[in-house]
């Protein structure tokens, strides 16, 4: 029997099988940010332990950092202390840091691929659940807790139970104005927020093959919202072309040729068997928008908001709680619902392609008067590229704020937060209660849909704009 892509990567990283049947898995790359690492470094110090391979860990600042012009001086003393702790830890333990102000700083899941750290066939972990993003390159990448961060720092391994495999086929072709974000939201709506638990998702099918790396990353990014720690896409010419661009850590010359030969062996065998599978028909896929308080509570933009008993997989109480929090009533059309804030950013949708799509909608138009619009590029590289293309001017002319990179309003750990009851069209990945600010109401959408909402001041069926 053949192997899946996941099984090929897994098998090459098992150091040994432990007495209880779990595996000791070798970790090729460890990404670090300021929020989930300080207690791990503290643990190391208390136990008098060292970092086994500091050259395999890479750190950046993203969750806490302000995104305004004055961002270099962090006003919040607690945030500042956390950022300074990461600086000290990286210095003391010899870990490369892409600090605030660095030309390569950005959201951790943005800079891994940009730097060429994210490569096919590798195991990649980070104390962050959206590490699944890196699976777009055919790398086995998953989020871990702080104790596991410490475990990786000390041993360069993790103890893991082998997950099951789940094939997700996106069949057919996307209609205009329907994107990777809509594909993954539809998947989560179909299998539920726990549907992928215990599994590694493997995305395939015609609609995936035709996607850029940026769009593939948007899909893999949200694997965790379907409950799966990792999502994978087999590497192909699109992947290799991305890696051949200016990627400082990617192999070059003869080393690249050797790597390419290895990478071409990675895609799953034709006779590989998956534990589960599902097919999503992309021919009929419409723009998606969430109505509730988790990413599985999602509808087509032209569907009414469901009532209790009408949302598959959710109890009446779940729906009642969600509607009460969101300030919505059953039967409402979201195209009639005003938005207060539009957030274009996050590790889901703050890549250059996302900004181009949003800019194309905003070009020559003005935002609705009472809407606040934040455009937060995911990394300094993206920011610079966007400015070279004049996208920043389009955003500013439309009345949007053009910011510096960071997680920003995706989780509101920095000053970018929703106020209670403010409604936001957001390109991020989580519409949990309070995620973007206490009492804030988040609707997840694609960058085009977010930009259109900025102009109209309500949600819009982008196909009719």
């Amino acid at each position: 029997m053949g192997k899946t892509l996941f099984e090929k990567i897994w098998d090459r990283h098992v150091v040994t099988t432990l007495p209880d049947g779990s595996a000791l898995l070798y970790i090729d790359r460890h990404l670090v940010h300021e929020v989930t690492s300080p207690q791990a470094f503290e643990g190391l110090r208390l136990a008098g332990r060292k970092v086994r391979r500091p050259e395999l860990s890479f750190a950046t600042m993203d969750h806490n950092v302000p995104t305004t012009e004055d961002r270099m001086t962090i006003a919040d003393p607690i945030s500042r202390a956390q950022v300074e702790a990461l600086r000290a830890n990286c210095r003391d333990f010899g870990i490369a840091l892409y600090d605030l102000g660095d030309d390569r700083q950005g959201i951790v899941h943005m800079i891994g691929p940009e730097l060429g750290l994210t490569l096919p066939g590798l195991t990649i972990v980070c104390g962050d659940s959206h590490t699944s993003t890196h699976g777009a390159f055919g790398a086995l990448a998953f989020g871990i807790g702080t104790s596991e961060v410490e475990h990786v720092l000390v041993t360069q391994t993790l103890v893991q139970r082998k997950p099951k495999t789940f094939k997700v086929e996106f069949a057919g072709r996307l209609a205009p104005h329907v994107f990777a974000k809509d594909m993954v939201l539809k998947l989560i709506g179909t299998i539920g927020t726990a549907g992928g638990a215990g599994h590694v998702l493997e995305y395939c099918g015609e609609a995936v093959r035709s996607l850029s790396m940026e769009a593939r990353m948007s899909i893999c990014n949200m694997s965790i919202e379907a409950g799966a720690r990792a999502g994978l896409i087999a590497p192909d010419e699109t992947t290799f072309a991305y890696i051949r661009q200016d990627r400082p850590f990617a192999p070059k010359g003869a080393a690249l040729e050797q790597a390419l030969a290895r990478w071409k062996e990675l895609p799953g065998d034709d006779d590989a068997v998956f534990d589960q599978q599902v097919t999503i028909d992309c021919n009929r896929l419409k723009p998606q928008v969430t109505w509730g308080t988790n990413p599985g509570m999602v509808i087509d933009i032209d569907q009414p908001v469901p009532g209790p008993g009408e949302a598959a997989g959710y109890s009446r109480a779940d729906v009642e709680n969600a509607l009460a929090y969101m300030g919505l009533t059953p039967g409402t059309r979201l195209t009639d619902v005003p938005v207060d804030v539009v957030f274009i950013g996050s590790c889901t949708n703050a890549r250059i392609e996302d900004l181009r799509l949003a800019a194309a909608i905003l070009k020559g138009r003005k935002k609705a008067e009472n809407v606040e619009v934040l455009v937060v590029p995911g990394s300094m590289q993206v920011r610079r590229q966007a400015e070279a293309e004049g996208l920043d001017e389009i955003f500013k002319a439309a009345g949007a704020q053009w910011r510096y990179p960071g997680c920003s309003m995706c989780l509101g750990m920095n000053p970018d937060q929703l106020k209670p009851r403010q409604r936001c069209a957001s390109t991020s990945n989580r519409n949990f209660e309070g995620r973007q600010g206490k009492g804030g109401r988040t609707h997840l959408v694609s960058p085009e849909m977010a930009a259109a909402a900025a102009i109209a001041g309500t949600f819009v069926d982008i196909r009719t704009l």
Partner: protein
């Protein structure tokens, strides 16, 4: 890590499914660089009113739940962010056990706890007990009708028993490696360091092949 053998305590119920780690501990408390001090912030947005005063309607702070140490809740608990702070907050607010049901949807068994949350629990000695949906339903009913309901969770025997109703006894499954780690309070890093020779051997060959 503190070992987990058996625990007897007061049960509190939280009747919500898909409780995410953002709800368990909101982001503003993640700025701390310490491992302690999270208890009072557990379920912060549900627990306190906008003016900061405790919300008397919040389930877990009802007078009848004073002294609670076992949380009984609904499926997919701990989904979302990987923040281990969620487990620290639960422990530091007095919980030693969380009970939730697995769910069957379209013939597929969906686990009671999100993967990363469950891993984080093990590392900190918080026991996540997975029961069938009708069993958790019975626990909810029992707590509603028995003020001061207490239960004993016996990890070695993989069993929960209700103090006020001896007829309610539920068996639970648990990964054998996890069970041993919890029973003995083992530190995983020390365990892995026993494999240092294997790691070094593997690493040498692996890094030569995949630079």
């Amino acid at each position: 890590m503190q070992p987990f053998t058996t625990h007897t305590g007061l049960i509190a119920t939280l009747d919500r499914s898909n409780v995410d780690t953002d709800a368990i501990i909101p982001k503003q408390f993640l700025k701390s660089i310490k491992r302690t001090g999270y208890g009072p912030s557990l379920f912060f947005d549900w627990r306190y009113r906008p003016d900061g005063a405790p919300d008397p309607a919040f389930e877990l702070d009802q007078p009848r739940f004073a002294g609670r140490s076992i949380l009984v809740t609904r499926n997919n608990f701990g989904c979302g962010s990987s923040r281990e702070h969620a487990v620290w907050a639960l422990l530091q607010d007095g919980f030693r056990v969380v009970v939730a049901p697995w769910k069957e949807i379209n013939g597929q068994r969906l686990p009671a706890f999100a993967d990363i949350f469950r891993n984080n629990s093990v590392k900190n000695g918080l026991l996540a007990v997975e029961l069938a949906e009708h069993e958790v339903e019975a626990l909810f009913r029992h707590v509603a009708t028995h003020p001061g309901a207490r239960m004993t969770v016996d990890l070695a025997r993989q069993r929960v028993t209700l103090e006020q109703d001896p007829s309610l006894v539920f068996a639970f499954e648990i990964d054998p490696g996890v069970k041993e780690q919890l029973l003995k309070g083992l530190d995983e890093i020390s365990l892995t360091l026993h494999y240092e020779a294997q790691i070094s051997r593997f690493e040498k060959a692996h890094l030569a092949e995949v630079p």
